[in-house]
């Protein structure tokens, strides 16, 4: 609305401004024009005075010299001639005696020097020819004061130009008035002078006698429709009139107005533009400020949400088997995430389910809000998956499937998902392009290593699986590890290993291992649960110093506190329990490092043994105990006594040849295992399967 009114207001303002400007500028222009004319008039006056000053001079000189030359006519003639020669504009000069003062009294006598048209100078007695006694110049001079008399211009009948005369009284040495000295000027120069006086080409200048006779004019135009000024040129009897066409004033006014208008218009445009800009800038600024505040607020909310998503920094985890009386610290999880911005792309989470502790650490590619959104999606997918799924591989594959399926911005997450079986220390983990965790070995595990000067930490092997978000059908390889009592698993993101100090030097893996391994000895000696994570973080921060954080920093430690317990599974004696037992052995084998091919065969051996129990023992339960040294599987059931080893050795070739399937399972078991033993104790069957690894 404001923006639309602006041009109308501007136009209106412009018109009014123009009108005022025109009126004002007309008056002002007229004034300045009149001023100019007046100035020219003054100039003309000065020119006139300059010109006519000669005439003063001439009559003055005559007056001065006369006493010296009055003795005879010749002297007077030569004096007048010499004066005439010195004043080029002088037409003639003369001395007109009073009749009673003439050499021959009673007679008119007037010696005169005259410039011929050929410029030669002659002298003669003027009085002889002309009765000057009645001439204006003669009478006027006698009546005038000492400055003399200026005649009206007149035509003498000889010269074609008008003439005017300056005349003054003439005295002899005794101070007696003897006549009149006169000097005649033609007015030819006046025309020339009028041209100089003209202020403009189209101006008209005229010179009149005070009686109104035109003496000279620059143009013959009359002065109708002109602005006219006039001035009497003192001390002569002449009047200067200068006329300037009115159009000139208007033209000047219009020119000035147009110029002013242009300037004004431009001024308004610029002002308008500035105002609009200022408005817009103001509005923009306000908008940006508001948007920024809003964004800051939303970022803060996002940051809070993200912090809310993350679990607490520290938690003691107890496995489900511990009774209330026995509750003791079985595992301690510590985690910290320091985002570089309000929101970050790093993530961690942990969740305890039964005897298992599930955990994830990850790093979303990119930073800021998009990374944070991907981060929260990943955490939520983990939480959802962990409720239903048991294996880190399965959880990883589910998360990967979802993230890859809806990933238009091609983001990805590097992550490690793990599951720690707290009582036994079996750790299953699945890596998706993340950095290898470190294990700070507990006292038990470390014995012997220190003597060899080996490091007290172990870098955990990781499979080079794809990061999450690339390929939804990617099949991740799961790995395993046994955590001993006091072992501390250290998980981290590259914000740590790629942290830089003031000198832009990377912290790097080597230095990170030193930090992780370094300060741990004292803690384990005393057995105190020193907040490892705080020490690690403090050392990383110390390394970074005052340098800028370049990435989120996330650190998670999982310390197994409880004593290592034997791995025992007890399941109902039902065929549908086989997958549970199979997975148990699979996981155990992974954790203790049985190679994949041996493990697969041992699973076949276990299956055959289990199927045997299920088919023949009528037991209520089957119990599976696993140990390694050689890999030792002990199956216990409370069924009727049955010794599979007592059955005769079966030749598998024979079995096949006779198409007899019975006995094939036991035959396979015996072929796979290095040793199979049977015991019957306390009403239980105990089958021990041993495989050297």
């Amino acid at each position: 609305m404001k923006i639309k009114i602006l041009p109308i207001i501007s136009a209106l303002f412009l018109v009014v401004a123009m009108a005022i400007q025109s009126a004002v500028s007309y008056d002002r222009e007229k004034d300045s024009l009149l001023n100019l004319i007046e100035n020219r008039m003054e100039l003309a006056q000065k020119d006139f005075i300059y010109e006519v000053y000669d005439m003063y001079e001439v009559t003055d000189e005559i007056s001065d010299f006369f006493p010296d030359f009055c003795e005879n006519t010749d002297d007077m003639n030569s004096m007048l001639k010499s004066i005439l020669e010195r004043f080029p504009d002088l037409y003639c000069c003369y001395i007109a005696f009073l009749p009673e003062c003439a050499p021959e009294k009673g007679k008119r006598f007037a010696p005169l020097a005259f410039r011929e048209p050929d410029s030669s100078v002659v002298a003669y007695d003027y009085g002889d020819k002309v009765d000057y006694l009645k001439r204006e110049w003669y009478i006027g001079a006698l009546q005038s004061d000492n400055d003399g008399y200026w005649s009206q211009p007149y035509n003498d009948g000889i010269h074609e130009d008008p003439i005017f005369t300056h005349s003054r009284k003439l005295y002899n040495n005794d101070g007696k008035l003897i006549g009149v000295a006169g000097a005649d000027y033609t007015l030819a120069w006046t025309e020339r002078m009028l041209k100089d006086v003209k202020p403009y080409e189209d101006a008209v200048c005229k010179l009149y006698s005070t009686k109104g006779t035109l003496i000279a004019e620059s143009e013959s135009d009359d002065m109708k429709g002109m602005i006219v000024m006039e001035k009497t040129i003192s001390p002569t009897n002449m009047r200067l009139v200068i006329g300037v066409p009115k159009s000139r004033v208007f033209k000047a006014v219009r020119g000035i107005s147009l110029l002013t208008l242009a300037v004004l218009l431009m001024g308004i445009l610029i002002a308008g533009w500035l105002i609009r800009r200022i408005w817009r800038d103001q509005a923009d600024y306000a908008r940006v400020e508001t948007a920024k505040k809003l964004m800051d607020k939303e970022l803060q909310i996002a940051s809070n949400i993200q912090k809310g998503i993350l679990r607490g920094k520290s938690e003691e985890v107890h496995s489900g088997t511990a009774t209330n009386d026995e509750i003791k610290k079985e595992a301690v999880v510590q985690a910290v995430l320091e985002p570089m911005h309000e929101v970050g792309g790093d993530l961690y989470d942990y969740y305890s389910k039964g005897e298992d502790l599930f955990f994830i650490i990850g790093d979303v590619s990119g930073k800021g809000v998009p990374a944070a959104m991907f981060m929260s999606a990943t955490v939520n997918l983990f939480r959802s998956a962990v409720l239903r799924l048991q294996s880190p591989k399965a959880i990883m594959e589910e998360i990967n499937g979802v993230l890859s399926g809806h990933n238009p911005s091609l983001m990805f997450v590097t992550a490690i998902i793990g599951r720690l079986h707290i009582p036994t220390g079996q750790l299953l983990y699945c890596n998706a392009g993340h950095l290898p965790p470190l294990n700070i070995l507990g006292r038990a595990e470390r014995q012997g290593r220190a003597e060899h000067g080996t490091f007290n930490i172990k870098e955990i092997a990781i499979e080079p699986n794809l990061p999450l978000g690339f390929e939804g059908k990617f099949r991740f390889v799961e790995q395993g590890l046994m955590l001993g009592q006091g072992d501390t698993l250290v998980l981290y993101t590259d914000g740590i290993t790629e942290a830089r100090n003031k000198n832009r030097e990377l912290l790097g893996m080597k230095r990170w291992k030193e930090i992780v391994g370094g300060g741990e000895k004292s803690h384990t000696k005393t057995g105190n649960i020193t907040p490892t994570i705080e020490r690690l973080l403090a050392e990383v921060e110390a390394y970074i110093g005052e340098a800028e954080h370049t990435d989120d920093i996330t650190l998670m430690t999982i310390r197994k506190m409880s004593e290592k317990q034997p791995v025992v599974m007890r399941v109902p004696n039902k065929i549908d329990q086989w997958p549970v037992l199979r997975e148990a052995l699979q996981n155990y084998g992974l954790c203790v490092g049985v190679d994949a091919r041996t493990l697969k065969k041992m699973i076949v051996a276990l299956e055959e043994a289990v199927v045997n129990v299920i088919n023949y023992s009528q037991a209520d339960y089957i119990s599976l105990t696993m140990d390694h040294g050689p890999l030792t599987i002990t199956l216990t059931d409370n069924g009727i006594a049955f010794d599979p080893t007592a059955r005769p050795e079966v030749d598998t070739d024979q079995v096949v040849a006779e198409r007899q399937i019975g006995g094939l399972g036991i035959a396979l078991l015996r072929q796979i295992a290095d040793k199979v033993e049977y015991r019957r104790t306390d009403g239980q069957n105990e089958l021990i399967i041993i495989k050297n690894i």
Binding site: P579, V604, E607, V611, T652, V656, R659, L668
Partner: protein, 102 residues
Amino acid sequence: MIMEIKIQPNGQETTVQLIGLLDTTTISEQADELQKVLDIADQALVMDCSELEYISSAGLRFFMQLKRETEAKGGKIRIINLNEDVADIFRMSGFHNIFSLS
């Protein structure tokens, strides 16, 4: 789904693809699907085991049964693409004597 069976006619032969684990549990779970394979034992069957990850005596028992059926109905059976682990079990059981493994 840890066990999957795909049957696909392939010219004069029929390809049967076994995917996953063939153990005591999956054999009973997939009994219907496995019966479909037994039903076409009159044909020339190619057992594609490229994605068969695991086999126990339960699985071997199925192969034995299939062998009998093909012999009874005039079909043929050929096993291809066994991975090393599964092939080991076949050999330990002497099955390499009655099946052509490739």
